[in-house]
């Protein structure tokens, strides 16, 4: 074996399945597909009166990286609005080397993905779905 993309922290995030499932009465919902690999993410959100996320759930038909990213995102999404989610996305992009700077938690766990450009979209797909749901 030459590298360790699937480090314990990423596997643990995926297995945690934080937020996995559906919301009974979402305020908004969005689905994003990656046409290259077929991964699919559906995100449901319930928003409070100030437009902040009160509840979030996701259904991922995709790889472990996509599952881990959706799980990590769900773990920090509640209480944030669209601008707040963009700050989280910056952490994810820093972790995979798309942006300069040190990534905050929990997305620092995704640093091993940096060397695998073909997998960057796997990490970002849940953000794309959530962005659409919040738009």
């Amino acid at each position: 074996m030459t590298d360790q993309l699937y480090q314990d922290r990423i596997v643990a995030l995926a297995k945690a399945k934080t937020g996995a499932g559906k919301l009974a009465t979402p305020t908004k919902s969005a689905r994003r597909d990656n046409p290259l690999c077929g991964d699919r993410v559906v995100v449901d959100v319930k928003l409070d009166e100030g437009g902040k996320i009160a509840e979030i759930a996701h259904q991922v038909r995709g790889c472990l990286l996509c599952q881990a990213s959706a799980s990590a995102l769900a773990s920090v999404a509640v209480g944030r609005d669209a601008a707040g989610i963009e700050k989280v996305r910056l952490d994810a992009e820093r972790a995979i080397g798309r942006e300069e700077g040190e990534a905050g938690e929990p997305f620092a766990a995704f640093a091993p993905v940096k060397a695998h450009k073909s997998r960057h979209e796997c990490v970002l797909l849940p953000f794309e779905a959530l962005k659409e749901a919040l738009s």
């Binding site: 074996m1 596997v11 790889c63 472990l64 599952q67 997998r119 796997c122």
Partner: protein, 413 residues
């Protein structure tokens, strides 16, 4: 074990030595290349042919009178003859295209323009997107209808379902000769026999069949055949459409430009005869010469032995996968009527994660929907992990893959 005895006499090491890329060490590991269904590797014979053209004969074809142009034209037309010999057809029925997809699009556009609204085309559920979307575009342009033959649970085109789809309006049946997901071989004789009952033409997508030895199109009774150079040990950017001369004669051009004309005026332009009618502009000369060399190289192999070797590797692979907890084959569980393309699933692990893990063991495979989303939808799959084997693969490739799959099963679920 089918063919295992014969494979003893197949000198895989001698074949491997002809593929310089396979002797590489990447990050301390040998290259276990099992993604041949996406792109095969290229032997010295092809690399040498392209280099010889580029260094001794590079010029445009057909138009020049100087010696380099003469050499280039001769090499280009000799490549057409090599392809024709490989397919047992007349060289004038061989059209060079940009690839297999381009060849199918050519038929869909040009032959398709001869069809009328309400005419019907039959495809199958296991087709590659390249044998679906061009026909959907034709449907949008011309109002034709598309019928779909289902697949069986073993990943074979269900020919029992074909008769009830045939009507007097069925003009063409276009199917994968060999599936790029399951490796299954279609029963061409049965398809042609059924097609004849309603006067329909038959086209085969040969992309996954051609890399496994010469194809005798003259004996098959079909009308159109398409394949890609890069999957058949040749360069990228080149493919082939073969069609019966009578069809090519009747078909209007696809692209317009230089070379494909008889005479051009602003009031009227006439077309060159086939195959040049379908090769507008400067063709991919070097790639065509490389493909000719690839066809010549393939004919140097004893394919009875090579195929037995490939299928012995398929057996080794299937036996090994069956011993891994949670691994299941997608497609036929035997080596009968198939080619060495094997898809599998690993319960609880996404195919991309299997493939990524295999890469860390130096093993290259393809994972995902394989440009066959309707087939994935039919079986409610996210995708599969696909192993596609060439004659230069050996037991070490299969064993490295099995080690990697075991590792993925242990660590990712």
């Amino acid at each position: 074990m089918a063919g295992a005895e014969q494979s003893m006499s197949f000198d895989v090491a001698a074949v491997r030595r002809q593929f310089p890329i396979l002797s590489q060490i990447i990050d301390g590991q040998p290259v276990h290349y099992l993604d041949n269904g996406a792109s095969a590797q290229t032997p010295d014979a092809v690399l040498d042919a392209v280099r010889t053209y580029e260094t001794t004969s590079r010029a445009n074809v057909l138009r020049g009178v100087h010696r380099l142009a003469e050499r280039a034209t001769e090499a280009y037309e000799n490549a057409r003859i090599e392809v024709a010999n490989f397919l047992s057809v007349d060289p004038m029925e061989v059209v060079f295209t940009g690839g297999c997809t381009a060849a199918i699009n050519l038929v869909a556009y040009s032959y398709g323009s001869l069809l009328k609204p309400g005419d019907r085309i039959i495809l199958s559920e296991l087709e590659h997107h390249s044998n679906i979307v061009p026909w959907q575009l034709l449907r949008q342009r011309s109002g034709i209808e598309i019928d779909v033959v289902p697949v069986t649970v073993n990943g074979r085109i269900d020919l029992n379902a074909l008769p009830r789809l045939l009507t007097s309006r069925t003009k063409l049946i276009s199917l994968a000769h060999v599936s790029n997901v399951t490796g299954t071989l279609v029963d061409v004789h049965a398809v042609v026999t059924l097609a004849k009952t309603v006067g329909a033409k038959v086209m085969l997508d040969g992309a996954q069949r051609v890399p496994h030895g010469p194809v005798d199109l003259s004996a098959m009774g079909i009308d159109f055949y398409a394949f890609a150079g890069h999957k058949a040990y040749g360069p990228n950017g080149i493919g082939v459409l073969w069609a019966k001369a009578e069809h090519l004669e009747a078909m209007p051009p696809f692209h317009g430009g230089g070379s494909m004309i008889g005479r051009v005026t602003f009031t009227e332009t006439t077309w060159a005869p086939p195959p040049r009618r379908f090769e507008a502009g400067t063709p991919p000369i070097g790639p065509a010469i490389g493909l000719g060399a690839a066809c010549r190289w393939m004919r140097t192999l004893d394919w009875k032995e090579a195929h037995a070797h490939e299928m012995a590797l398929v057996e080794r692979l299937m036996d090994g996968l069956q011993k891994i907890d949670g691994a299941t084959l997608f497609g036929p569980g035997s080596t009968q009527n198939r080619y060495p393309v094997v898809s599998f699933l690993l319960e609880g692990v996404h195919p991309h994660d299997v493939a990524q893990t295999l890469d860390s063991f130096g093993v290259a495979v393809r994972a995902g929907h394989h440009c066959c989303q309707p087939l994935m939808d039919r079986f409610d799959l996210d995708g599969t992990t696909r192993v596609s084997i060439a004659p230069y693969n050996d037991n070490t490739d299969i064993d490295a893959l099995l080690t990697g799959v075991q590792h993925a099963a242990r660590t990712l679920r």
